[in-house]
Point group: C2
Chain length 421, copies 2
């Protein structure tokens, strides 16, 4: 089986590990969506990783600058255009189709009307932010630059082969004076690339490049793409556009004067937009952190092990609590107490001691390495007597003995140190 897993291509190896280790739900559909950078059914670990990633994005964007405000806009907006994705109630459509007394023309008319009255669903968060521009102006006393940040679910139109799908997007819409928009695009490109690379095991797999002129969006004068080099090819993670002010003017038609900012002279600001796909972000960091290690053991046999070396800040489980063989009720109670302590400190811990299946320490270690668990704490008979437990590090594979009262601070310091690098 070791020879078999060597033969796996990187994509299959990653998908198998993710499904086995609670990152994504098992199944063909889930894998396909995941692979295409769309939202899929995430298991407990995938959910936590995505949550950590979104939190880091939020902190980096809203807390680094005083001029960024969070918003929460609607997917279903009143829109005069009838294009795009719409939500319909299938029962309502069926009722129309079943009315035998309707002529062909009446039928067409009724379906058209139903479509017009249906709710649109958003494909990105830009429009919502443009609409929030005017109410937000008061917040900043009409001074530029400032930004509106949002994360949320968006829908992607079908690409022929599959249905429309969901994506969790991040969006920063940055309003600035026309003459500085190009500098801001450069500023945000540097910031965002630095952010992606901060959490990477091989930072050079994340890169940015200008969008060629022929691929620019209609409104944009410049565009930058942040991409991740998967083993199977490059995929975009985040798009940055310098978009001028035509869309802003169009959104607030006939209200030109309410758009003006105090920036030396009165100007209608330009827009720089940053749109990230955090589902693909999850996949990029999983792919980036999966290491295939080969060892030759004492019996000269080739051992293969997989370690998910996710950044300490992103890792969904910081510490696994487990018991040595011959677990007693008292040992479990110690684990229970530790778990409570970690929960209160908001450090995510894994209740490994609940699993009563007989497994060797090697099997346990292999499992936790594949889950990307930072530390494994083993509570033994000895812990009950002396208060000492064994802590194994995922990254150094070294086992340390420490007192039970030190564990929480040890883990917490380790994560903070990694965050401040």
């Amino acid at each position: 089986s070791s020879a078999q897993s060597e033969d796996l291509d990187p994509l299959r190896a990653l998908l198998e590990l993710c499904a086995n280790r609670y990152y994504i739900s098992p199944g063909q559909t889930t894998s396909e969506l995941f692979q295409r950078g769309r939202s899929c059914s995430y298991g407990p670990l995938g959910m936590e990783l995505k949550k950590n990633l979104l939190e880091q994005w939020w902190h980096s964007v809203t807390r680094s600058k005083s001029q960024v405000f969070g918003i929460n806009t609607l997917s279903s907006r009143k829109d005069t255009a009838t294009g795009g994705l719409r939500i319909v109630e299938s029962e309502h459509v069926k009722q129309i189709l079943e009315q035998q007394e309707l002529s062909r023309e009446q039928l067409v008319q009724k379906v058209q009307m139903l479509l017009q009255r249906s709710s649109p669903v958003r494909t990105d968060l830009l429009q919502g932010a443009l609409e929030e521009f005017v109410p937000s102006l008061e917040l900043v006393n009409r001074k530029l630059p400032f930004g509106l940040a949002e994360t949320g679910l968006c829908f992607q139109p079908s690409d022929g082969s599959v249905c429309s799908a969901e994506v969790t997007q991040t969006s920063l819409v940055w309003f600035c004076s026309p003459r500085t928009s190009s500098q801001w695009l450069d500023h945000w490109t540097r910031q965002r690339l630095k952010w992606w690379r901060k959490f990477a095991l091989s930072p050079s797999d994340f890169s940015s490049s200008d969008v060629p002129e022929e691929e620019l969006e209609a409104a944009a004068s410049r565009g930058v793409r942040i991409v991740y080099s998967f083993p199977w090819g490059q995929e975009p993670l985040e798009m940055l556009w310098s978009r001028g002010n035509t869309e802003l003017l169009h959104t607030h038609k006939g209200a030109h004067s309410t758009l003006q900012c105090r920036n030396g002279r009165k100007t209608v600001p330009h827009v720089v937009s940053l749109t990230g796909n955090m589902d693909r972000g999850v996949m990029a960091f999983l792919s980036n952190s999966l290491l295939q290690l080969k060892n030759v053991d004492g019996k000269q046999k080739l051992q293969q092990r997989q370690v998910l070396k996710l950044h300490p800040v992103l890792a969904p489980v910081k510490v696994a609590l487990d018991v040595d063989r011959g677990a007693t009720m008292e040992m479990r109670q110690v684990c229970e107490g530790l778990l409570q302590e970690f929960m209160e400190a908001e450090i995510s811990a894994w209740p490994g001691y609940l699993d009563t299946q007989a497994t060797s320490v090697e099997q346990l270690t292999a499992k936790y390495d594949e889950m990307g668990v930072l530390f494994t704490a083993i509570i033994s008979e000895n812990t009950l007597e002396s208060g000492l437990l064994q802590v194994r590090s995922r990254d150094t594979t070294i086992k340390e003995t420490m007192h039970i009262s030190e564990l929480k601070n040890f883990v917490s310091r380790y994560i903070s140190a990694a965050d401040n690098v």
Copy 2:
């Protein structure tokens, strides 16, 4: 104008305050959605309040028990049924309707096929959790009870007058042995009611009641409703159902044995579901915390002021940083430094010093009280000399003088204390 605002009914007063103070975006549509307990366009403060509420829910549900795991399921599932809400691309429908060569029958057939192939959108999070039950069983070593938690966007069918709309729901799906399901329903009702009341100014406005038998959902043997008494009537915030195992069996048809848990004897678990509407939750806490206070001032004139006494943990802004009249560059720099310090400590601070419009201290205080800001720190000429600043409390209206180096810990301790009550 003081007489005028007295005449406002409670709903209008609340909506006006929310739109003026950055909780919701101005506009008729927003107000209507908000009022009906649906997602609306939230401004920076509303977004932060909703975020805080969702975080508290998450902590309370996932961190209190070791047997609750978070998941993130899809809204668009493969479903054999064709009912419910669907996402269609309006262009595709229009293309069919415009094909003149199609007969009436062909037209009907084509629209039906398009509908069948379209993606369903979820109206709640229950189905996703039922599907995750089997992959989650391994996590808990087939032991009951355990739960799957999720928060996310759901869509509500239109109610005739308006389009389908979005709601942010919370969901805990609890799997337990059949004979304990009724006790668990009672347990969770107590827990949830306690949670809602923890953050309330008048806890008795939150209450629970059994759902009468004739209103039970088809699958449910018992139901409990947690409601909030708005000044204009009661509205449900959260529904708890004891639902048996028919839906679980239906979701995993033909896989009866994979559903069995080790619980003394092999059983297919029963399901207790908890579904909360956090958009209505936001409105309930806003309504609950809005106080209308009347004072008679020195000149015997009636003064009316409004204070949004949101719980310290929920309040979107913990501290506003402002400067005394005659602000200098140095004073602003002190504010900037404080803001940075609060951001790093993840305590949300309001950069009031950015606003350069001339306002009196009274106007400022009135504004911050309406925003629900816990503390207002005023940096003055004196701060530059002695390091002392003035801190006003929203709840006591008392102004204290403290050293600038104490401010962060003071605010942080106050919030922790309120959280641990």
